[in-house]
């Protein structure tokens, strides 16, 4: 994972800049961060929060992939884009965000990768240790996840999506070993095995505990609807709600789930959201994702397994482990 050679000491500049965070995760973790390479596909309010966080943390490099041209709507939740059309006009989101991000930490290499996430595979992926995908179709997410898993190099895969005032993070670390701090202060080596995205979203709903966060189900409904209608993410609107609800009802009837499992109100919220992101929720999701990636790179601390949900409506930030592991799985 890290480019070989002898372990170098942190420079005086790094020690001074990173002092406060080294007191949190230690010098060793800081060194690992400086050798990590991260790829982010899809620039939006949430992923730029994530990017800000890991650039400040001092990763080795950050590559941004998003060829879409900047529009005025992008300014809503994105503080990296100067509100001046003469600056952003005609340029890609990745380009404009890259310029601003470089400023946050001159020691991190930030660059643009032109291209389409649905076409990335093979050796290209080997350049990275961490891949984050956001705002992509289900098809693209599955493809990238699958390609990451196929590499012999260990590549951690994440998705993050913010739907107005709620959102979802998915984590796939494949096989991940890490140090866990116990109550008495001693440390213990742990290992977790993660399911692929395909596995995680294919679990029959009636196999899941009744208390499973409703957002999980709602997001799957939206994903599948978009897939079958060929909508790009965020293009489904409230006008589609009757068709979506009919779809939900059909699924529920088949497995005799009641309405509260996938509340109509929640579906309406997701559809009404479109591509809108509520900035406080971007900060929360971007922060949680940032912490997760830092944990993964440093191999220190319990990583989320494998979904995280936040909803401003109730304020809960919940972890779901799907498929649910059987009890005493050892």
């Amino acid at each position: 994972m890290d480019g070989g050679g002898a372990e170098r000491e942190l420079t005086a500049q790094e020690t001074a800049l990173y002092d406060r965070q080294i007191r949190v995760w230690g010098v060793d973790a800081q060194k690992r961060l400086s050798k990590a390479h991260v790829l982010v596909c899809g620039m939006n309010g949430t992923t730029i929060e994530f990017c800000k966080n890991i650039v400040l943390a001092g990763v080795g490099s950050l590559s941004l992939m998003d060829d879409q041209t900047v529009t005025e709507a992008d300014l809503n939740a994105n503080f990296l884009i100067p509100p001046d059309e003469s600056i952003y006009g005609g340029r890609s989101l990745a380009e404009v965000c890259c310029e601003s991000l470089k400023d946050f930490n001159p020691m991190v290499q930030v660059s643009v990768e032109k291209g389409d996430p649905s076409l990335i595979d093979g050796e290209f992926l080997d350049k990275f240790d961490i891949v984050v995908v956001s705002g992509a179709s289900l098809k693209t997410k599955l493809l990238v996840n699958d390609n990451c898993r196929k590499r012999s190099k260990h590549i951690a895969f994440y998705t993050v999506d913010c739907k107005d005032s709620c959102g979802e993070i998915f984590v796939d670390l494949q096989k991940h070993s890490f140090i866990q701090k116990k109550n008495g202060g001693e440390t213990e080596q742990q290992e977790l095995t993660y399911p692929s995205l395909q596995e995680a979203i294919s679990v029959p709903w009636n196999n899941l505990p009744r208390k499973t966060t409703k957002l999980y189900f709602a997001m799957r409904v939206l994903e599948n609807y978009e897939l079958s209608e060929g909508h790009s993410p965020g293009k489904t609107t409230l006008s589609d709600i009757p068709a979506v609800l009919a779809r939900v009802k059909a699924v529920r009837d088949k497995i005799s789930l009641n309405e509260s499992q996938v509340p109509t109100a929640l579906m309406e919220r997701l559809l009404a959201a479109g591509k809108k992101e509520h900035p406080p929720v971007c900060a929360i999701l971007g922060g949680i994702l940032g912490q997760e990636v830092i944990k993964s790179i440093s191999c220190k601390g319990d990583p989320i397994k494998n979904f995280f949900y936040f909803d401003a409506a109730d304020g809960k930030g919940v972890i779901e482990d799907i498929p649910t592991p059987p009890p005493c799985a050892n």
């Binding site: 800049l17 509520h278 900060a283 109730d314 304020g315």
Partner: protein, 623 residues
């Protein structure tokens, strides 16, 4: 959002994230107060600042940075202390909500009182490492910030510091507040170090004074031998102290550095220190601040640092106050603390760790601040909408509790006994008014500009606008013992203390007591009936006689200036969670067994609610 006028207090770790999120969320009128300037160590998380901004005002630079992506909103910065008298109740009244992003208990309490007086809702917050919390305080609807007692950083008994240290932090406090202060600080300051030397036990000379033209190396060694050798031997002579304690070993230079040639001629000929900031580590070729030095190396650093202060920074001697960003000072204090620790059999620490303890450094990362800022804005929006049924206290956890990393809790109702009648036990014949004001009224009660009355007589007043003769009169009163004040304060006298700015008034009933335990009651007075913080951290401004605290945690890896976050949060969690179910997910728990509240889950709603616990009486959930 557009019409709301918001006040932010603090433009640091939380402040930067908060200002950015408020601006993106549609707020257009934001005022921001911060007294600090930007430092390099801020830049890992206070992302609105750049290297080129070091030394400039945080409030002003933050404003400029945010205007870059939201040029049409109004941000008014104040490079000032929120405790300034111009930030009075009238000032606070103009805002719809106040958002705190502070890092100390003192300022938080002050803002809390002003918000109560102005009847403006307050959203409080704090972070340390991976932990964070957000709480909402609305007068009449929820408890105020001070309704729950907040633990405060420890202070240590003087004798522990001067004679019987048992933890590394004690050695740091000795090195910083006694030795460093004695050698480099204000000479007129009282100091508990023993200044008599072996040969002149009856003379008036201060052994710490360097004789005119005394060779520096000789002076440095003399100081070393005095504090680590002679003083320890003197202490050992008192058998009683060591009956149940491990005896310290005196250490002399010749023992710690037997092979080093003793240079008695001239100053260090080292050239490495010419261009850079003087550093003993640089002189000695010690590169790694994370390394734990041997006794020998610590001794070399001690001697070299002492010499460098005199060689390169002589003008500052007599005025220096310890500053964690002063490399040479940190080196000196680390070395001194380590040598003392060595003497007392306490484990040594690296410069990196020692600096954290001596400087009360809070470990901090960007992600937690970003999450907390998001949660603050969510609560602020609820407050502005008057959506009081949905106010939540939000906790950001490092380890999930019931699958939650972000946990909402319903706020508590106001605590009726927030400021019950107080009783102060004190020796009225020997204690001066000044001590009561400093140790109790300003310190424990957190008043800033107090007024003290005995019946209808005003015995003390603080603030601007005093007539010269009034001020002189009060100055005289300060130095009088309580029983000899113009309106005598004796057993059963009732004092009335008031702070107009904070709109806080309370009564203190005085009880005379002759004796106080030096170790357990180091202040020489005891306040009872007080449900607030117990010991205030006295900042080292050189004016306090009792030894100030420097760290609250025994574990050097988790120092924090304001620990109101972790233990306070732990306390709330203990009340909420069933101990047996969740004990393995709580961090640093120690007394979970005392928890008695229950988690109730409502099927339809999945809200975390509290059962009404008869023992808790006043604390009920919001209706």
């Amino acid at each position: 959002m557009q019409a709301a006028k918001v006040l932010m207090v603090g433009a640091g770790g939380i402040g930067c994230e908060l200002l950015k999120t408020l601006a993106l969320s549609g707020f257009t009128d934001i005022h921001i107060i911060d007294l600090d300037t930007i430092e390099v160590s801020n830049l890992n998380r206070q992302f609105l600042f750049r290297q080129s901004h070091v030394g400039q005002s945080k409030a002003k630079v933050a404003r400029d940075a945010v205007l870059k992506f939201r040029p049409n909103i109004n941000i008014t910065p104040y490079h000032a202390n929120v405790k300034d008298s111009n930030f009075n109740v009238e000032f606070f009244k103009q805002f719809n909500v106040v958002l705190n992003g502070l890092d100390n208990l003192d300022a938080r309490r002050h803002v809390n009182r002003l918000c109560l007086a102005a009847e403006v809702p307050l959203v409080e917050s704090g972070t340390t490492g991976f932990l964070g919390q957000v709480t909402v305080h609305v007068k009449g609807k929820t408890e105020c910030y001070e309704c729950q007692p907040k633990p405060v950083p420890k202070s240590y008994p003087v004798c522990t510091i001067t004679s019987t240290p048992s933890k590394f932090v004690h050695c740091i406090v000795w090195a910083k507040d006694l030795l460093f202060a004695k050698l480099f600080g204000d000479k007129n300051q009282d100091n508990d170090l023993n200044v008599r030397s072996k040969d002149d036990s009856n003379s008036k000379t201060d052994v710490f004074e360097r004789s005119v033209d005394e060779d520096l190396s000789q002076y440095a060694q003399r100081i070393y031998d005095h504090v680590f050798g002679y003083n320890i031997e003197t202490a050992l002579a008192n058998e009683e102290t060591w009956k149940n304690r491990r005896k310290p070993c005196p250490i002399y230079v010749k023992d710690a550095l037997p092979e080093d040639a003793v240079q008695l001629n001239g100053s260090s000929k080292d050239h490495k220190n010419e261009e850079h900031e003087p550093s003993a580590m640089v002189s000695l070729g010690l590169r790694n601040p994370q390394e734990i030095w041997s006794l020998a190396d610590n001794s070399r650093v001690f001697l070299e640092a002492l010499k460098l202060f005199f060689e390169k920074r002589e003008k500052e001697i007599g005025n220096l106050i310890f500053d964690k960003d002063d490399q040479l000072a940190v080196e000196f204090v680390t070395a001194a603390a380590n040598i003392r620790a060595s003497s007392f059999g306490i484990p040594l620490h690296s410069l990196f760790e020692a600096k954290g303890v001596a400087g009360n450094i809070v470990h901090a990362v960007a992600t937690t601040n970003a999450i907390i800022a998001g949660l603050i804005v969510i609560e602020a929006i609820k407050v502005l909408k008057g959506d009081y049924q949905n106010y939540r206290m939000m906790y950001c956890l490092e380890h999930p509790t019931r699958k939650m990393l972000l946990m909402p809790v319903e706020p508590f109702e106001p605590n009726e006994s927030c400021y019950t009648p107080l009783v102060l036990e004190v020796n009225t014949k020997t204690t001066k008014l000044r001590e009561v004001i400093e140790k109790v009224i300003k310190s424990k009660l957190g008043m800033n500009l107090p007024l003290v009355m005995v019946g209808a007589s005003l015995v003390f007043e603080d603030g601007e606008g005093l007539e010269p003769d009034e001020a002189a009169n009060y100055a005289l009163n300060l130095e009088k013992v309580l029983a000899e004040l113009p309106a005598p304060v004796v057993n059963d006298t009732k004092l009335t203390v008031e702070d107009f700015q904070q709109e806080l008034k309370c009564s203190i009933n005085i009880k005379h007591r002759d004796e106080f335990d030096e170790e357990k009651e180091p202040d020489g007075m005891v306040l009872a009936g007080w449900s607030g913080p117990v010991d205030k951290q006295v900042t080292s401004n050189g004016n306090k006689r009792s030894v100030p605290s420097s760290s609250s945690a025994d574990d050097v890896n988790s120092t924090a200036e304001d620990v109101s976050l972790k233990p306070g949060m732990k306390r709330k969690l203990n009340e909420i969670l069933e101990s047996h179910e969740n004990s393995d997910t709580l961090q640093n728990k120690s007394d979970v067994g005392s928890s008695s509240a229950q988690l109730v889950e409502d099927d339809d709603d999945d809200l975390v609610m509290l059962d009404e616990d008869p023992k808790q009486g006043k604390k009920k959930r919001l209706q």
